[in-house]
């Protein structure tokens, strides 16, 4: 009898243990894929370098292992100075976009929500346009563009925040509407800046930036800030996973489960705005990753956010790095804006999603 009871206690009654093992498996597998992705991506370009050599160069630079140099100085410069920062920025931006997408979809309870829903990218675009066309933020030297973009993003988030807060409670519908309103207003501002500058060359640079690019990546402060903010965001969102679950079910439900929906949504808004602001400042508006990857992640490990957030981060990172490889290689030596690639990949996925929604409705 006693053995029966203890066997009952050890039993995985709800299958949660099995789910956890599945998640751990996916996290390990995706991490391995990410490492391979980084090595291959760094090796790919006008001058091809095989992944084992890439790994040796990175190991040598980081840990001094291997100590014996078996590659040429140009190879080392290409790997370490040119391509690795870019690929790492891709990893960070992909992970950040995907997790912010997860958070926003929970915050507004809408499957079509993405990180740009709050109009933050429009603010960043206005800032970037001001920097490119009129030299705004020149005092920040090499960081002029990203600082100006970040200030624009900050202004947009503050606007969204104030408008959404206007009624005292930040409900999902208020958040949606204020994001859309601020987004359109700032989009108009950007267009006006382009129009007012009258420079075709400048307009082209702004356009390129709007479509997203990892070209700004260097070993510099920007990369460090991005790593810190995006790492922090992924960590925070994983930690509050259970509360995101409750919020995603409904405000009333969240309340009865001990989560104050308004206060929690406010806190998420601050975290997500900051993260999206940094992302957009570093890489422009790269579309579809933040919309599509959360759905992929849910398909793989189910809905609980403790599992979805880290899986989405890894998937987003892998996807964005590959998109960047395609953007660099497809029309080489010309570089295609990465946003075009992600949109090409994302749009069919969205159509599949719509199709499935339709099937579920009938």
């Amino acid at each position: 009898m006693a053995t029966v009871v203890s066997a009952g206690l050890d039993e995985d009654v709800l299958g949660i243990g099995a789910q956890r093992r599945r998640t751990v498996f996916w996290l390990l597998a995706l991490s391995a894929v990410l490492v391979v992705t980084v090595l291959v991506a760094v090796g790919t370009g006008a001058i091809g370098i095989d992944p084992p050599t890439v790994a040796r160069i990175i190991g040598h630079q980081l840990f001094g292992v291997p100590s014996r140099v078996s590659w040429t100085p140009p190879q080392e410069a290409i790997v370490w100075q040119v391509r690795l920062p870019r690929v790492l920025l891709g990893v960070l931006v992909g992970a950040g976009l995907a997790t912010c997408g997860v958070a926003l979809q929970a915050m507004v309870r809408n499957v079509l929500a993405d990180p740009y829903l709050l109009g933050i990218n429009s603010g960043a675009s206005s800032g970037a346009a001001a920097a490119i066309l009129f030299g705004a933020g020149a005092g920040f030297g090499q960081y002029a563009l990203s600082t100006s973009a970040f200030l624009g993003a900050l202004a947009a988030s503050l606007l969204v925040f104030l408008i959404a807060r206007g009624g005292g409670r930040v409900t999902s519908i208020r958040l949606l509407l204020s994001g859309v309103a601020v987004g359109y207003a700032l989009y108009a501002a950007t267009s006006f800046l382009i129009f007012a500058s009258g420079s075709a060359e400048g307009a082209r640079s702004v356009m390129f930036w709007l479509l997203g690019s990892l070209g700004l990546a260097r070993w510099d402060l920007l990369l460090a800030v991005a790593a810190l903010v995006i790492g922090g965001t992924v960590g925070y969102l994983t930690m509050v996973g259970r509360r995101l679950d409750a919020l995603a079910v409904g405000d009333e439900t969240a309340h009865t489960l001990g989560v104050s929906p308004d206060r929690f949504r406010m806190r998420l808004l601050v975290v997500v705005s900051l993260c999206v602001g940094v992302l957009v400042s570093a890489s422009g508006s790269i579309g579809f990753v933040g919309l599509v990857v959360p759905h992929l992640a849910r398909r793989i490990v189910g809905a609980p956010h403790v599992r979805v957030v880290p899986v989405a981060a890894l998937l987003g990172a892998i996807l964005l790095v590959w998109a960047d490889v395609v953007a660099r290689v497809l029309l080489a030596p010309q570089e295609i804006p990465i946003g075009i690639i992600t949109a090409l990949l994302g749009a069919p996925f969205l159509l599949i999603l719509i199709h499935r929604l339709h099937v579920a409705d009938t």
Partner: protein, 257 residues
């Protein structure tokens, strides 16, 4: 024990709840009854604090509700609301486990013990076989039972339910209310069906006209002389085998006033 004194709420210019006092006693089932729009759900929401009354106060076991943290409130009061959460992609098991949230810190994972509690609660509402299903794919009645299981998994000392028998077939209407009766917690239930209220509640609060039309033990409140003017329908009361039954008979124009 939940005690509300002088609570008030209005939608637009119309007060729905105007200076109402309610007491839910420990170990007893309190039913909130009344016609459509009489403020049953509003009163319940005031009791668990999604609505904060600008006047009066609500206390839970002597502590003022507005001073308790959301988590502490959720440990004391489990609520089944009418929100369906239909869009969620959570499975039934995951949905019920959310009820353990108020007992866990942010870094804590649900333990085997939590899973046991959730599984037991699912079994109690006759939904053990649904654990692996997607919540969104359930029928209305199945969802309702799962939400009740989640509330049970909260293991709170008070249980508040907003029309828990909605969508349930006759068997589960009785099983669920029987279950609530057997819990020995302090329960507050919004009910439409007066016969269910008669059978499973200890005390009743009859709402009507912005205030409490009658309050007290079931036997006293379910008096046709009290009910008829509030509901505007003819009512006959039968006492069969110690159980009280109400029969309804639409009346002619004279009683509409």
């Amino acid at each position: 024990m939940i005690q509300a004194t002088g609570v008030y709420w209005r939608y637009g210019a119309n007060p729905v709840i105007d200076g109402v006092d309610v007491t839910a006693q420990p170990g007893r089932v309190l039913g909130l009854i009344g016609p459509n729009g009489s403020g049953k759900t509003t009163l319940l929401r005031l009791l668990y604090g999604t609505l904060r009354s600008p006047t009066g106060q609500v206390t839970v076991d002597g502590d003022e509700l507005s001073r308790l943290s959301p988590r502490e409130t959720a440990r004391r009061m489990a609520v089944v609301v009418q929100e369906t959460g239909g869009e969620t992609a959570l499975t039934v098991a995951e949905m019920v486990l959310l009820g353990r949230g108020p007992h866990l810190s942010a870094f804590q994972r649900t333990s085997t013990a939590d899973h046991q509690v959730a599984a037991r609660c699912l079994a109690r509402v006759g939904a053990a076989h649904l654990g692996a299903r997607a919540f969104a794919g359930l029928s209305g009645g199945e969802r309702q039972r799962v939400l009740i299981a989640r509330a049970l998994a909260q293991q709170a000392t008070h249980l508040l339910l907003d029309e828990p028998t909605n969508h349930l077939d006759i068997r589960y209407q009785h099983e669920i209310l029987n279950l609530v009766r057997g819990l020995d917690t302090c329960a507050v239930v919004v009910l439409h069906d007066l016969n269910l209220a008669a059978r499973y509640c200890d005390d009743l609060v009859l709402l009507g006209g912005g205030g409490v039309a009658a309050a007290g033990p079931v036997d006293q409140v379910l008096d046709p002389a009290i009910l008829e003017p509030v509901y505007g329908i003819g009512i006959r009361r039968l006492d069969i085998d110690g159980h009280l039954h109400l029969l309804f008979q639409p009346t002619d124009r004279e009683s509409v006033a």
